[in-house]
């Protein structure tokens, strides 16, 4: 569809139907991944949407691992135990490990002992994508920092660049170590980097991320940070929240209520 024609359609107020997305929607059988077009009123505009997450550490139960188990199962994350070859997308860290630069002197002992969920922050200014020499890791139009497993050369620059330890490398063949194969997401090969993808494969079907859905305490809130009236934005405005290592200027899209 030509640019002019698109402009015309937009101007004509047919925004909801315009754009390549709608064109693809006319032929759902040809789409590789069934797309629920009701999500998109227009062709994706970079920066218009910014997915974010708010984690209420007060609600998160100490020894519950529902979200971790669900995410790692859905995404075929291999289990190498706690070894150096470990691969993980979402996991629990001690409060001081997650927030090493937050003041912790004379901190409330209950808070200090809290286990905090840690995952990729889908930074608005991601240092990992800057370091990548092949654009294998990149920021999508909706703020999600994604990885092309077929392009990654396994140089692990992104791992050195990420100040949050969010990335894992496939030191060994992951496939034999997947406990129960899931059809929701492809498996990876040896020698590439992976991490949380904010469940982009689910968002495209208008479903919430697996971890958010699985949390029995509803401690995880997901939404568009660029939409002022979204639930997440309202909660951010109403609560005292934290981002990890805000001094680094990475602008994490994952927030925490302590």
């Amino acid at each position: 569809m030509s640019q002019n024609r698109r402009e015309f359609l937009k101007k004509a107020g047919l925004g909801a139907l315009a754009g390549l997305g709608a064109a693809a929607g006319l032929f759902p059988a040809f789409a590789l991944e069934q797309t629920d077009m009701s999500n998109f009123t227009d062709k994706p505009v970079p920066g218009k949407v910014r997915w974010g997450m708010l984690i209420d550490t007060r609600k998160c139960l100490g020894n519950c691992t529902e979200c971790i188990v669900r995410c790692h199962h859905d995404h075929n994350v291999p289990d190498f135990g706690k070894s150096k070859n470990e691969v993980k997308w979402i996991w629990k860290s001690g409060y001081e490990n997650a927030f090493p630069t937050a003041s912790t002197q004379f901190q409330n002992p209950e808070v200090l002992e809290r286990q905090v969920l840690t995952l990729c922050n889908h930074c608005a200014e991601p240092p990992c994508t800057k370091a990548c020499p092949t654009e294998a890791t990149f920021k999508r139009w909706d703020g999600i920092v994604s990885i092309d497993y077929h392009r990654c050369i396994g140089c692990r620059f992104c791992m050195a660049a990420c100040p949050y330890g969010s990335r894992s490398f496939n030191w060994l063949d992951p496939r034999p170590n997947i406990k129960e194969l899931s059809t929701a997401y492809p498996t990876r090969m040896r020698g590439v980097v992976e991490k949380c993808n904010f469940c982009s494969e689910r968002l495209v079907k208008n479903e919430l991320p697996a971890c958010v859905e699985s949390c029995p305490e509803k401690a995880l809130i997901f939404g568009d940070l660029n939409k002022p009236d979204s639930e997440i934005r309202k909660l951010l405005a109403a609560n005292e929240t934290m981002q990890r290592k805000p001094e680094l200027g990475t602008l994490p899209s994952v927030f925490y209520i302590i």
């Binding site: 070894s83 150096k84 070859n85 470990e86 691969v87 860290s93 001081e96 490990n97 997650a98 090493p100 630069t101 840690t118 240092p127 800057k130 370091a131 990548c132 020499p133 092949t134 654009e135 294998a136 392009r151 990654c152 050369i153 396994g154 140089c155 692990r156 620059f157 791992m159 050195a160 660049a161 990420c162 100040p163 949050y164 330890g165 894992s168 490398f169 496939n170 030191w171 060994l172 063949d173 040896r190 020698g191 590439v192 980097v193 290592k245 680094l248 200027g249 990475t250």
Partner: protein, 383 residues
């Protein structure tokens, strides 16, 4: 000309055979790494770079140090270096080659290495590093080879060769600066996040690389009866001493900034390396050995009567190389990962496979250097 590398005595062939054996071991180890994965190394989720990247970093410095001969000879007409400029250039070629092999060995998908060129990403320092390293290798190989070829025919080298040589001078600085930028631009890795990293890289490179050049002249004198002459060595030793001094000075400024400011994140890596952190101190003896050896070696090189004595000069050069190799080829890279972004202290220990691959790559570099130098000396001595 290269056929000249195929003529040699018993000792020469024994050396070549030895290198081939080490290469064989390295290739076998690499085959194992390729079948099983990088999991066979000591690297892991927390310490995600190890000896490969550390050797790469050290060797970029060695490659850059050719400029310590090229610059005085071509820009300042230092005739003392006329016999050994070619040694510097060929050292640069073999060091740059080793750098690339170390990068390849470190990659999870070496089969996709061309992606760096297919999807050029100027925002990534790796892209620039690949560009400048390759460029540097070819600049030195072509200019060195052309000068040698002209010398064999007894004619002056073509004018374009001079242009390449002049170009190689700023290029040498660029390769090590870009290599420092690989590290110095990463947020949250405080040992690396310092503006003094690039100057320090250059200083340590010019110290260690020049010391290696001095040692090579001694080796060539012994095994090939090719003497660069005491004057050349003396001049080099002065260069090495000042570069070594600058390196120690930069290290001192790192200590001052970290410990005087008393900012925990800035102190942690240095504490881990030199004093141990929360009971983890695997590198402490190494780092102190490196520091003390470095200070003594620079002291010897700075003293005119001492550096004139061959024995002291050799010992000081070995000391300086070992000191910087430990500092840059181990401490800097491993230490940068500790503590991890999640404040864990993880120790790294290279595996036998990893060490075999490393030695194999060194052997490839030494073999290339041996053959290039053999050719050069054959031409120069008109064998």
């Amino acid at each position: 000309m290269i056929e000249k590398a195929l003529k040699g005595g018993r000792g020469y062939w024994a050396w070549v055979a030895f290198l081939l054996v080490v290469i064989g071991i390295g290739v076998t180890a690499y085959a194992r790494q390729m079948t099983i994965g990088l999991g066979v190394t000591g690297m892991g989720r927390d310490i995600s770079w190890g000896v490969y990247i550390a050797q790469f970093t050290f060797l970029v410095g060695v490659a850059a140090s050719a400029v310590m001969l090229v610059l005085p000879y071509y820009l300042h007409n230092q005739k003392a270096f006329s016999k050994i400029v070619i040694v510097g250039e060929f050292l640069a070629v073999s060091a740059a080659l080793m750098c690339m092999l170390f990068i390849l060995a470190d990659m999870g998908r070496p089969d996709r290495v061309l992606n760096v060129l297919l999807y050029p990403s100027p925002h990534s320092m790796v892209f620039w590093d690949v560009m400048v390293l390759n460029g540097y290798l070819f600049l030195n190989l072509i200019s060195g080879w052309a000068v040698l070829g002209a010398e064999r025919k007894g004619v002056a080298p073509a004018p374009w060769v001079k242009a390449l040589i002049y170009l190689s001078i700023p290029w040498a600085f660029s390769i090590h600066t870009v290599t420092a930028f690989l590290f110095a631009g990463l947020p949250g890795r405080h040992l690396w996040l310092t503006a003094v990293l690039a100057p320090r890289f250059l200083a340590s490179a010019f110290a260690a690389g020049t010391a290696i050049l001095i040692l090579i002249t001694f080796i060539l004198k012994k095994v090939a009866k090719f003497d660069a002459g005491p004057e050349a060595r003396l001049k080099l030793s002065v260069l090495a001493s000042y570069a070594g001094l600058a390196n120690l000075f930069f290290l001192g400024t790192e200590f001052f900034t970290a410990f005087y400011s008393n900012i925990p994140a800035h102190m942690h890596s240095l504490q881990y390396l030199f004093f141990g952190l929360e009971g983890h101190a695997p590198l402490v003896p190494w780092m102190w050995f490196s520091l003390i050896t470095g200070i003594i070696s620079v002291g010897v090189l700075l003293s005119p009567p001492l550096r004139r004595k061959n024995g002291a000069l050799i010992a000081a050069c070995i000391g300086l190389v070992v000191s910087i190799w430990i500092d840059k080829g181990m401490g800097l890279v491993f230490g940068g990962f500790v503590p991890t972004p999640l404040e864990a202290i993880v120790d790294y220990m290279p595996t036998a496979t990893e060490i075999s691959v490393t030695l194999g790559i060194w052997a490839i570099g030494l073999l290339v250097l041996t053959m290039l130098l053999k050719t050069a000396i054959a031409v120069k001595t008109q064998e």
